[in-house]
Amino acid sequence: MQFIPISYYLIFCSVLFCIGVIGVLIKRNALLILMSVELMINSINLLLAAFSTYLNDPAGQIFVFFIMVVAAAEVAIGLAIIVVIYRTTHSIDIDVLNKLKW
């Protein structure tokens, strides 16, 4: 059987991860930032699963499950705080978050 080489997974996940990081850095909408964070997390999950199959070792796939749970909790809290922001400022654009500046 022909397997996809591990290096393909590495390159693909790195590209996906970079897209996620760039999204976090340049997007101004809080929801899109959360989605970019999810993209980062998912690229990591894919990489872990790929390594796990490559190494014939289940630890990586177990790790993926825990990351999913934690990411869900993180997003839940993030969304809750975004709702709070929306109630006070009526916007989820992070440019309105400029009360704190040096």
Partner: protein, 469 residues
């Protein structure tokens, strides 16, 4: 069972507090304060009872005498934060959310305990997230204030980004070594290019958490916006816990590439100290000021880590112990002023000594300790850190650190000057602080003085830290 006693006790009191919360009527939530503090004091005391140490779950979880000491230190810090936050929790805005504060804080502490005693990267990651996510809700605790909500959203985004970066490193460490257990990773680590890249990602993720310099800008914003008690918790306890596990992982897992991370830490230590100090000088808000001062202190801690020996580990723990007492002392005074008068600007502190001499003296002691003036504990903490770095022959680094200490003396003394020498037409009026605040400050003062004058504390830590490196 007994090996995991710190965590189990904390989980038990969290559940007890949850039950109390359920049965308390809506307008009597403040009655949870006393049981919460008493239970925490009990757990802190119980932590010092000697018990078995060892490894559980096939190496996922492990404790040693040194790790138990770290947990005890964190327990003491959290107890002080609990006591200090009473005056804030009794304000009208927080009346309905008192129990949430205690429960969320305790759950972060549980996360930190698991993180410190983790034996593999999965446990480490879960502990780290449990220690971080609830803090975001705590930062947004005064949710009707825009600043507080903003601090919460900034903290959750930064922590999501940093743990994403950290995880990317972890996944590559897993891919190249084939295991997530610390001893096995350490044994198979060979410093191939991919592994070095993985280490850089891991390092960047941790640097976010400890707020080291290229990754520090979130800290000042979050520290300013969050409620002052949460800020003190964030800058002392969570930073301390992150430093502990960072040191342990660098010393055990990445011991093979010590020569490489030494250079990285060398540069970052200099940057962190200098930038923290320079930015601290121009702050007029007391919370922001303490935020940058704590960034600078993190730079000093790196000097101990670079010491890379039993001595290095000892000095890091010893310094964090002192730092908890001195920073919480300074924050405690800032808290009571902020809660009684709502003033958080350093300019408002003019003439504070004339109206509130005791609080001014406490603040002076805490700031002297942070600055490192000889007879007080902070001096010995810094002295041992410098000694650890000097033992490795890093004299230039020590010289820069000493220069930075002098610079830091300038801005710490600015506050003391404002309180004692400056005259003001409208100084902060006299107010009577409540019993809890006095107790919290008394513990801080006792800690600063006792640790400074009692050498057994240092020797005790030195004895325990044998064998970690």
């Amino acid at each position: 069972m007994l090996i995991m006693r710190h965590e189990l006790l904390l989980i038990a009191i969290t559940v007890i507090l949850l039950l109390i919360e359920i049965f308390l009527p809506h307008d009597k939530k403040h009655k949870i304060i006393l049981p919460a503090i008493l239970l925490m004091a009990l757990v802190t005391a119980a932590g010092f009872i000697p018990g078995p140490t060892g490894v559980l779950f096939g190496g996922m979880y492990g404790t040693s005498a040194l790790i138990l000491l770290m947990k005890n230190i964190l327990n003491i810090g959290v107890l002080i934060v609990f006591i200090q936050s009473v005056s804030w929790l009794k304000l009208d805005d927080q009346k309905e959310k008192i129990s949430e504060f205690f429960i969320l804080l305790l759950s972060t502490l549980i996360g930190m305990d698991y993180m410190i005693s983790s034996g593999d990267f999965l446990m480490f990651y879960l502990g780290l997230e449990l220690a971080t996510i609830p803090i975001a809700t705590l930062a947004a605790f005064e949710r009707y204030k825009e600043k507080s909500a903003e601090a919460g959203v900034k903290l959750i985004f930064m922590s999501a980004l940093s743990s994403g970066i950290l995880l990317y490193g972890l996944s590559m460490i897993y891919g190249t070594t084939g295991t997530v257990y610390f001893p096995e990773v350490a044994a198979t680590f060979q410093s191939t290019p991919l592994q070095i890249l993985a280490f850089i990602f891991f390092f960047a993720g941790m640097a976010f958490k400890i707020s080291l310099v290229p990754f520090h800008l979130w800290a000042a914003d979050v520290y300013e916006g969050a409620p002052i008690n949460v800020t003190s918790y964030l800058s002392v306890i969570s930073k301390g816990a992150a430093v502990f596990i960072f040191t342990i992982i660098l010393y055990t897992v990445f011991a093979k590439i010590a020569l490489m991370w030494r250079d990285v830490i060398y540069v970052i230590a200099i940057l962190t100290m200098t930038m923290g100090n320079l930015f601290a000088m121009r702050q007029r808000n007391i919370k922001r000021f303490l935020a940058f001062s704590s960034i600078a202190q993190a730079g000093f801690i790196l000097l101990g880590i670079i010491g890379q020996s039993q001595l290095g580990m000892t000095t890091v723990i010893y310094f964090v112990l002192i730092y908890i007492f001195s920073n919480l002392g300074a924050f405690g005074v800032a808290t009571i002023i902020s809660n009684k008068t709502g003033k958080e600007s350093i300019d408002d502190y003019d003439g504070f000594y004339r109206t509130n001499p005791m609080l001014s003296l406490t603040m002076m002691l805490a700031l002297f300790s942070l600055a490192g003036i000889p007879p007080i504990a902070g001096f010995f903490g810094k002295f041992f850190l410098f000694a650890a770095a000097a033992k490795q022959g890093l004299y230039i680094l020590v010289l820069i650190a000493v220069l930075n200490t002098i610079v830091s003396l300038y801005y710490y003394l600015l506050i003391i000057k404002a309180m004692f020498l400056n005259r003001s037409d409208q100084p902060i009026g006299y107010f009577k602080s409540d019993g809890y605040t006095r107790l919290g400050l008394a513990i801080c003062i006792a800690g600063i003085l006792i640790i400074g004058f009692a050498s057994p504390v240092y020797e005790f830590i030195l004895k325990l830290s044998y064998g970690i490196y």
